[in-house]
Symmetry: none
Subunit: 431 residues, 2 copies
């Protein structure tokens, strides 16, 4: 089955918005074995939308449009698709009532333009909108099916997940290659690829590496009549070869995995941050229910506060400065004690653009103090090239990932193996 995407909006052509909707749809459709064969962006023009939709359906069986379903004069997708199908726009009474209720509940006056969102091309099937006002709909054009979705990402995603993916999945059942994604942190792509050579050698298996700062997703694809069995074997072999470097699969994120590990053990974490300014705490409080696992944190951005708020010995700070492994250890122990948490997790380092206390940009120490045994510190080598505007946020992000992964390994009671540590020396190369 071939699908084309048609994204509608001047803001995309002007580059004010990056086309994240197309990327998200491409991923979701690929997961269910639907091939996106083309993705087109056009502006807010009636005839342009009509022509682009007809053009797409001359090649593909279905087109998914996003954008142009709002209440304003430049929201023209409804009008364009009705005109392309040669039908009228009808106001749907149930939609109108829901809109009037939403507006009345908010206490605002009703503007006539808003009721445009209750109009649907004659004969179209409504797809609803669980999280907003403008409903999606499906309709037939001479060349095939059109799914029309609003452009706001959370609305587009909700309708796609609820209505479109289940429908398309029915069309492709039984003929799709199977995919599995494993997630790793703190190890570089070239090291992973070297280790995974035996998986790559399996007949019918392909590997793809999708890097993020300090993380790599590994996508395993198996095809052929025994794809299911093959995929299982490939995943098992990959997990054997990678050991604890794999922190999760599919949509797992490191913050989610850490939250789950803490939650299962009924333990908590508190953070002491410096260069990350609060990002680590922000990550640990991302999950619903975070209050059960995340106590809080202290952002001791200035060196003096590392002493007064976290109890790092003043003479240690005097002798070594704030960017030091022992300072990280003292921060971890200090925040654990002062916030009464099971684990204290600390980061200190230099995000740049200038060196600090004689330490170069990219120097980072992450430490954890836990309920059993001595606190542990690691000083990951971050790949730092130049000090342009991208470097600082990148160093902060990589620091957060390394800290979360250190905490994960401490909770699980596993360390990075010596073999992996050797791999670290390859890091610079692949940055």
């Amino acid at each position: 089955m071939r699908v084309e995407l048609l994204t509608i909006g001047d803001e995309l052509l002007l580059g004010d918005t990056v086309n994240g909707n197309a990327a998200w749809l491409g991923q979701r459709l690929a997961e269910i074995g639907v091939e996106v064969t083309r993705s087109v962006v056009v502006g807010d023009g009636l005839d342009i939308i009509i022509e682009a939709a007809e053009d797409a359906l001359s090649r593909a069986e279905a087109v998914i449009t996003t954008g142009g379903l709002g209440p304003t004069y430049d929201d023209l997708t409804r009008d364009a698709l009705a005109k392309a199908a040669g039908v009228r726009l009808l106001r749907d009474p149930a939609l109108e009532e829901r809109l009037r209720e939403r507006i009345a509940a908010s206490g605002r006056p009703l503007k006539p333009m808003a009721l445009r969102m209750a109009e649907v091309p004659e004969g179209a099937t409504l797809l609803g909108n669980p999280v907003g006002s403008a409903p999606g709909f499906r309709m037939d054009l001479p060349g095939g099916v059109v799914y029309a979705l609003p452009g706001l990402p959370h609305e587009m995603r909700a309708i796609t997940a609820d209505r479109i993916l289940p429908e398309l999945r029915g069309h492709v059942a039984g003929q799709m290659p199977l995919r599995r994604t494993l997630r790793t942190a703190g190890v570089w792509e070239s090291v992973l690829a070297t280790r995974l050579a035996p998986v790559e050698a399996l007949d019918g298996v392909r590997l793809a590496y999708l890097p993020d700062p300090a993380e790599v997703k590994i996508r395993i694809t198996a095809s052929g009549p025994d794809a299911g069995v093959l995929l299982g074997e490939a995943e098992e072999l990959a997990r054997d070869l990678l050991g604890t470097a794999v922190y999760g699969a599919e949509d797992d994120t490191l913050d989610r995995v850490v939250h789950r590990l803490l939650s299962e053990r009924s333990v908590t974490v508190a953070v002491a941050e410096s260069l990350t300014g609060g990002l680590l705490g922000a990550e640990l409080s991302l999950m619903p229910g975070a209050s059960a696992t995340f106590a809080g944190g202290i952002v001791a951005y200035s060196t003096a506060l590392k002493h007064s708020l976290l109890g790092v010995p003043a003479d240690l700070l005097d002798r070594r400065g704030a960017v030091d492994p022992d300072v990280a250890l003292a921060m971890a122990a200090g925040v654990r004690e002062r916030l009464g948490a099971s684990y204290g997790l600390a980061v200190t380092g230099v995000a740049g653009p200038d060196p600090q206390d004689g330490q170069p940009v990219g120097t980072v120490h992450v430490a954890v103090a836990g309920p059993g045994g001595l606190p542990v510190v690691e000083s990951p080598l971050l790949p730092v090239h130049g000090t342009d505007g991208r470097t600082r946020p990148l160093i902060r992000r990589m620091t957060v990932i390394h800290a979360l992964d250190l905490l994960r390994r401490q909770i699980l009671g596993v360390a990075a193996t010596h073999e992996w540590a050797d791999g670290l020396e390859d890091r610079e190369e692949t940055a």
Copy 2:
């Protein structure tokens, strides 16, 4: 002049890569007055690329392609464009020599495939590549001009800036519209649009609204022979009408503006956070040199820590819970005092998905305590629809923006006017 973009690569259709190249090109071209009328993504197929390029040139005078110029078998843009023009691919001796030198210097063995990057369609003009191996080129097809660029963003950007923008600028000199972007926080699009009706009414002026969570960018476009004068008048009128709701222009961000205001006055801020978990501190430490303006913060995620770390009276917490305007005020005063900062900025609220202390999701209080006068608290109405996975991060982001904007207005000594506060009631509608 009309230009279409043609981005080539399976990874874009699969959604593994977001089409940042198209957004960047759209922005750069808009800046010099070139209109991007369509942006198309196709996969790595010879005939597909040929058809898409010819199709684009049936509508536009020029097409810019990105991707498919590398050394591997699925890099097919060179071959496709040569076939479309009915010419041969020729190996360029100077390019071949440069490639051989680059590879020899790196110590890698020369693979025959790499020499594909020295091939160019007969009659094409080379555009060079100051930062990589695969050169861009320009060539004529029956329908118009094609600029072919590599897909790696830094290479694509360098060649565009060096060669393409100067060339296109020549075509549009003297006829381009002028643009100015104003940035606002905490006021909704519909309220801004109502207030800016007199600007919209100016002949030759258009307004566009680009919303982000709790922020709106307003783009003013002036065209015609007196575009420069007109743009100045429109901006002045808009600033008069919007007053202190405008926090900056063009690339200003709220964290940057706040950092500048603090820095100019040699004052500092410390933050006390709850639902945002550290995001506010992360924002205030984003700028290089943040250590001069950002002291640090306390993330009192649990209610008990609001008392022990920030000195919020225990009986207040008992009576009202953690989500309360007076708790926010006490947090702001507490963190200001304990961290010895000029300003204390605090947030408390309910990010969801569940209500807390009897308060509904989206209830937020932001407070600031400063060097002069009483602390101030505001309780912005956030537009909350449903409680899906997107709601929680959205509420946290909106809270951060409202807090930064409150701090900005306090430093400047200006308040949101009563008139604007009335406008808040329209918020639901445009969310």
